[in-house]
């Protein structure tokens, strides 16, 4: 997976050499004067990636472009080296879970998944449907009409339908919508397993905890532009214009604070009942500094924890800029 931050945001990027399953190059999509996606470039290899962004950021537009249902107004979109637009044969390798909830209500779950299997030309649609339904844990309800399903069950049967032909690339638009906590965890685990099997999985979500649980790779879209992509912890490390907050507990917080304040790598030190909260712009320098500083002060370190390396912190920073 390519890890990068929009050069206009931070001017920093890190690239890998893995051949991409998904590749966008300067892709844009506009409707009249409205720009939905603007000059987005990224590439993804095997693994699971969360597509994040506030409402209206362009996540669904991006997914529809990747799924071949929207032509880019500019730039290019490739799935496994081919343009998905107007090429139905590419769907042998793509599984798509759209955001819209509707699924043929008059079909049973089993019939719906078999419908997908037959249109994919599988030699054993019954067996493939049973296996896909088992993966999403819907065996007990597979002979009920989808119209009687809860929202979460409909999401799961959509995922089963998208998985039935064992696609290399899975595109999921808000796949956890309507699921209860137990179903969410099961689906997150399933995405992890599918990614471990070598698939490329891109899912959109507006719930950060979901993305954080499934993996660390993210794409952040803000106002149609790709604000950042890659491991969110790596992205956080690249945000040099924002001080890192580090929580420290030690045997003598006040003495350690005095020592740390003498170092130019440290912006500020706050003494709190829970310990020290240190701000630094240079995380690497601080990591090297802290051990020596504690020794010099004769203080024993009990805990050193990055306080703002969560996905929420990264997302909040990128969206608010």
């Amino acid at each position: 997976m390519t890890a990068q931050v929009d050069p206009e945001v931070n001017g920093l990027q890190v690239r890998s050499e893995v051949a991409p399953a998904i590749e966008l190059v300067h892709a844009a999509r506009w409707y009249g004067n409205v720009v939905a996606v603007n000059d987005v470039s990224f590439s993804l290899g095997a693994g699971v990636t969360g597509l994040l962004g506030p409402n209206g950021a362009g996540k669904t537009t991006l997914l529809h472009m990747l799924a071949g249902f929207l032509a880019p107004s500019a730039g290019s979109v490739h799935i496994l080296g081919r343009s998905p637009h107007r090429d139905p044969s590419v769907y042998r390798q793509i599984g798509l879970v759209p955001e819209r909830e509707a699924v043929y209500p008059f079909l049973t779950g089993r019939d719906y998944v078999k419908f997908n299997a037959r249109l994919q030309g599988l030699r054993d649609p019954d067996g493939a449907a049973r296996a896909a339904i088992a993966r999403v844990g819907l065996e007990d309800s597979m002979d009920r009409q989808i119209g009687t399903y809860s929202k979460g069950m409909r999401q799961r049967v959509k995922v089963a339908g998208s998985l039935v032909h064992d696609p290399q690339v899975l595109l999921l638009d808000e796949p956890f919508n309507g699921m209860d906590p137990r179903q969410r965890i099961a689906m997150m685990d399933l995405l992890g397993v599918l990614a471990d099997e070598g698939r490329t999985i891109l899912f959109s979500s507006h719930i950060l905890e979901e993305v954080e649980r499934v993996g660390t790779e993210i794409l952040v879209v803000v106002a149609g532009r790709l604000a950042a992509s890659g491991d969110f912890r790596a992205i956080r490390a690249l945000m040099t214009d924002r001080p890192h907050n580090i929580s420290i507990r030690s045997s003598d917080d006040r003495r350690l604070a005095t020592t740390l304040m003498a170092d130019p790598a440290v912006f500020a030190v706050e003494l709190t009942p829970a310990g020290l909260c240190v701000q630094t712009a240079q995380l690497g320098a601080f990591r090297r500094l802290i051990a020596g500083a504690s020794r010099a002060a004769g203080v024993r370190l009990l805990e050193v924890t990055p306080a703002d390396e969560s996905l929420e912190s990264v997302f909040d920073y990128l969206v608010r800029r």
């Binding site: 669904t60 529809h64 107007r86 139905p88 079909l107 299997a117 030309g121 649609p125 493939a128």
Partner: protein, 255 residues
């Protein structure tokens, strides 16, 4: 997971037809159409009971007034515009289009299923009513019934194809279809004989003369011309529908 084979065109056709059939049958309006299609049969029974069994009387009062003017166009427009309509409205068309199936197969399966349903309803009504009321007329009655069935088949094929294609361009295909039926076919084609070449009703009635010359003065096209124009309309509409489906785009959504 299962082994993948080239998608069998016949298997894909059958699967899409099966789902389309269930979509169309599951609608309340289909029940209303079934009731409407019983009307010519009930009237034929009434005519027969009253001793009015002439080919001309039946053709004018039941076939022309009810079957050709209301029943056949309405059934075919509803099935044609409904073959895709609901799927596009509720987004389920994605499940159909995100498959390695040629788009012309999707269109062919939808059109043939809708046409089969339209012919099943209107055609069976026409044949049954014809047999009931025109049987005493002997071979003329049988020939007239076959000619009426041919008119229904040709007219239904034109309406289904045209409004299936229209439904891929606008969500108002049903309204446009009923407007066409009432304004163009119901009024203008009577007042302006010159537009016979642009009237599905004229294609259907003209085609029927290949079997039997129905006692209707307004038949303005020969069988050959009518069948040719109907064929051009059906093929053009289906090609246009395939072209549109190949370019089908989903909206970007709110996020």
């Amino acid at each position: 997971m299962s082994e993948v084979a080239p998608v069998g065109l016949i298997a894909a056709f059958m699967e899409i037809s099966r789902v389309t059939l269930r979509q169309l049958l599951g609608r309340r309006r289909t029940l209303l159409l079934i009731l409407l299609s019983a009307l010519p049969v009930l009237l034929a029974v009434a005519f027969r009971a009253a001793g009015e069994t002439e080919v001309e009387r039946f053709t004018r009062r039941i076939f022309d007034t009810i079957t050709m003017t209301i029943l056949m166009p309405l059934v075919a427009i509803l099935f044609g515009s409904g073959a895709f309509g609901a799927e596009i409205d509720d987004g389920t068309v994605v499940y159909l289009l995100a498959k390695p199936v040629p788009r012309w197969i999707v269109i062919a399966a939808k059109a043939i299923t809708a046409l089969a349903m339209a012919i099943l309803l209107t055609g069976s009504s026409t044949v049954l009513a014809g047999i009931i009321d025109m049987a005493p007329a002997g071979s003329d009655g049988v020939s007239a019934t076959m000619a009426q069935l041919l008119a229904v088949v040709v007219g239904s094929a034109c309406y289904v194809s045209l409004f299936l294609a229209v439904s891929l361009f606008t969500r108002r295909a049903l309204v446009l279809g009923i407007g066409y039926m009432l304004v163009w076919e119901g009024a203008l084609s009577f007042m302006l004989p010159g537009i016979a070449n642009l009237s599905i009703r004229q294609y259907a009635l003209g085609a029927s003369t290949a079997v039997y010359k129905l006692p209707l003065q307004e038949v303005r096209l020969s069988a050959e011309t009518a069948l040719l124009l109907a064929g051009v309309l059906v093929v053009s509409a289906l090609v246009l529908a395939t072209w549109k489906l190949m370019r089908f785009e989903l909206p970007g959504g709110s996020d």
